[in-house]
Amino acid sequence: MTNPHTPAMAHHATSAKNPLAIQFDNLEQQRFAASLGMWSFLATEILFFGGAFLGYAVYRNWYPHAWAEASRQLDLTWGTINTAVLLGSSLTMALAVDEARQGKSRGIAFFLMLTMVFGTAFLGIKAYEYWHKWHEHLIPGTSFVWSNPATIGPAQLFFSFYFVLTGCHAVHMIIGMALLLIMWFKARRGDYTAEWHAAVENMGLYWHFVDCVWVFLFPLLYLVDRA
């Protein structure tokens, strides 16, 4: 591979920046580091959600009936639709990474845009569900209304976990969407080439991770003991 830092390349400016950072010897090393960095960060993320899942597991185990009862208040239809929407966004994200491997800037931008559309749809549906819960007085706290006085405490616990878990997931989605938007501009500018597109690959890893979290959240919150 030619050395991108040689002066001869300096004015050969089709793309604005030299992708090779000063601390790396070559792009292969840089890509390895970027990928390892992202995987390390995702390990952190797993433990982050892991803590909340532990709390979920403890209380679900303690109050199986109250939690099943509370779980039935969630909207299965919208939850299912949202799962499909999010899996769709994972597909388009994977296609964006595939376009990046071929160095097709327009293709990257197109699929990133589709991913953002799916992401927006997911967040919109989620917001609608939240609004509905608020309408039904199912937000934990002083205004919480529950028909069965015997299970009002554990039911509040369920909704606390529902909002914390889906809320943390939504925050991850919003951060991901912001990054997607930046990446979309950069893709249109032609920043990503077949040789250098580690950022798109890392974005893919992050986005798939966030989807995977939902793949656990959906059955745990919506489906378990629903019948």
Binding site: A21, F32, A33, F48, F49
Partner: protein, 586 residues
């Protein structure tokens, strides 16, 4: 069996031969001109605030954690003064609670956890692996800003009336009953966690992908192994604290009861989650200091580290086992007897790799030609005090003893022996050992030794009486006590004042040395390790040429009189003579 030729060398040639596999395509940079280094590469404030140079970020961290150290120390001065007399006459009970909480939060989250990894680790990891910078320099700078933001939240919490929950934020003190500014402090702790995570991601990626040609894993300095293990603990522990703090924050802000027994919640669940991070956090504090000690002991005993692989793997073993012992903080919470047994057993198990390290350092010293300079005094102090802390830790891992001394000063003394006697001694030893590298100046050796000895004795006078107090039953976190305990408390407070002077001395003479210290030269300790093979202070991108490593670490030989020719580890280029190496012969 090292020969003068077998030490690490800089490759003298242009490194474009593909056989090495890693060429250095970057030509000389402005900062790499002769006479230019990372400190004088640029002078304006922005060049510091927007730097991506790992060395400058390390210095930014050094300045900020020093500020927090003295802030946390000021709180300690106040409550040690209060404890001079049995009655609560200096501060009220509430103020006392706020003081020890502030001391704990600041010292744990804003000093001890970032101290070695974010200052020395930041500065040294790329140098030690022969890289031009960390893998992600911008993230590294971001981590410092995140640290500062977290610090601002914590300061705001202090200024708006303080927090009185203790650094552990136990529910329901922090949720239902706390009426102080817990939320701001919790946000501060949450935010600062991200700065450690970014540092850890950087260290892991750098060590994996950016080692110099020839620098295989088992040639790495033990400092790097320790930081690698620490980074694993940070990565896997910190996020659990983050979600725990979020749950407490949600409970507090929205008045919902995640840990509230009135709603069927479990306050003990909070303790499980909290200690799942906060026990491993002890290893975040002490493992990097152990890495420092390995470097210092080997250099100033002029011997190869005894049992290199054992020390390296002990770091990893500590990182893994450290995650399995959190229940030893909860022996009296009514957890199941069988859980208690297992946690007790595992806590004793984690002492084994720590002991392996202590024995290996001792064996390294055996028949070494020991140089008693400042860094070595700190390292030896570390071994002694860490051993005390570790042994009393074994007492506490024994359930029956723990039930007796739980929540007494015995616990306070135990963890200060680890965290101050261990981590802070290691940190200060490291600061002295690498000060010539960081600043290009020697610190005054005489003052350094005085301070190290003051700190050692001041520390023991402060905390040894607390073992006795705790055994006699004085509870921690209470601002008054029965008169029988006064003499021991006065001893402790007297020790604290000596300790305080001991900590102020380096602040003075190290700043003095920036201007008046002797120029250090590239390798004043005649040490091995790539960081000593470049200028002091190093140029912006660390090395003038890509270093290549040909041998194992720590190929030390006994001090030799300079008259017998050049010192064995003088690198090929003529650097200044090793100043202190020759002083060591006196």
């Amino acid at each position: 069996m090292s020969t003068p030729e077998s030490v690490m060398k800089l490759s003298g040639t242009e490194t474009h031969e593909p056989a090495v596999g890693r060429v250095a395509p970057h030509s000389a940079h402005a900062g790499d001109q002769p006479g230019r280094n990372y400190l004088n590469a640029d002078y304006n404030l922005w060049s510091w605030l927007f730097t991506t140079d790992h060395k400058r970020v390390g210095i930014l961290y050094l300045i900020s954690i020093t500020l927090f150290f003295f802030l946390g120390g000021a709180a300690a001065v106040l409550f040690r003064l209060e404890l001079m007399t049995p009655r609560g006459d200096l501060v009220k009970a509430e103020s006392y609670n706020k003081l020890f909480t502030m001391h704990g939060i600041i010292m744990v989250f804003f000093f001890l956890i970032p101290a070695v990894p974010a200052v020395l680790g930041n500065f040294l990891v790329p140098l030690m692996v022969g890289a031009r910078d960390l893998a992600f320099p911008k993230l590294n700078l971001a981590s410092w800003y995140i640290y500062i933001i977290g610090g601002v939240f914590t300061i705001v919490a202090v200024l708006t009336g303080g927090v009185d929950t203790g650094w552990t934020f136990y529910t329901p003190y922090s949720s239902t009953y706390g009426n102080t500014n817990v939320l701001a402090a919790a946000v501060g702790v949450f935010v600062v966690g991200f700065s450690s995570i970014l540092t850890a991601v950087n260290i892991i990626a750098t060590v994996h992908t950016m080692r110099a040609p020839g620098l295989s894993w088992f040639r790495l300095p033990l400092f790097i192994w320790a930081h690698y293990a620490t980074s694993l603990v940070i990565l896997l522990g910190t996020p659990v604290l983050a979600i725990t703090v979020i749950l407490v924050g949600v409970e507090r802000a929205f008045r919902v009861g995640i840990f509230d027994p009135a709603l069927g919640g479990d306050p003990i669940l909070f303790q499980h989650l909290f200690w799942f991070y906060s026990h491993p956090a002890v290893y975040i504090m002490v493992l990097p200091a152990m890495g420092v000690v390995s470097e210092i002991i080997s250099c100033f005993a002029r011997r190869r580290v005894f049992g290199y692989k054992f020390i390296a793997f002990a770091s990893l073993a500590i990182a893994v086992l450290g995650f399995l012992v959190w229940g030893h903080h909860m022996f009296v919470t009514g957890q199941s007897m069988y859980a208690g047994l297992v946690f007790s057993f595992l806590s004793m198990l984690v002492a084994i790799p720590s002991a392996i390290k202590v024995f290996n350092w001792t064996a390294t010293l055996f028949k070494g030609s020991v140089l008693w300079n400042t860094a070595m005094l700190y390292a030896l102090g570390f071994i002694g005090l860490f051993t005390m802390g570790g042994l009393t830790g074994l007492f506490l891992a024994t359930i029956a003893v723990d039930v007796h001394v739980h929540d007494t000063y015995f616990i306070v003394a135990h963890f200060h022996y680890i965290m101050v006697g261990g981590s802070v001694m290691g940190y200060l030893g490291g600061i002295h050992y690498w000060w010539p590298k960081m600043t290009g100046r020697m610190y005054p050796e005489g003052w350094g030794r005085v301070a190290a000895i003051l700190i050692f004795f001041g520390f023991n006078l402060t905390f040894f009486p607390q073992f006795v107090l705790g055994y006699l039953g004085m509870p921690r976190r209470v601002h008054d006590y029965v008169p029988e305990f006064q003499i021991l408390n006065v001893m402790s407070s007297a020790g604290a004042s000596i300790l305080g002077i001991g900590y102020l001395l380096p602040l003075g003479y190290l700043i003095w040395s920036l201007r008046y210290g002797k120029p250090a030269g590239a390798n004043p300790w005649d040490a091995t390790g790539l960081e000593w093979q470049t200028d002091s202070p190093p140029p912006t991108h660390n090395f003038h040429e890509q270093p290549v490593v040909l041998t194992d670490a720590y190929l030390y030989e006994p001090w030799e009189p300079p008259a017998q020719g050049h010192l064995p580890q003088t690198p090929p280029q003529a650097h200044e003579p090793a100043v202190v190496g020759s002083e060591g012969q006196r």
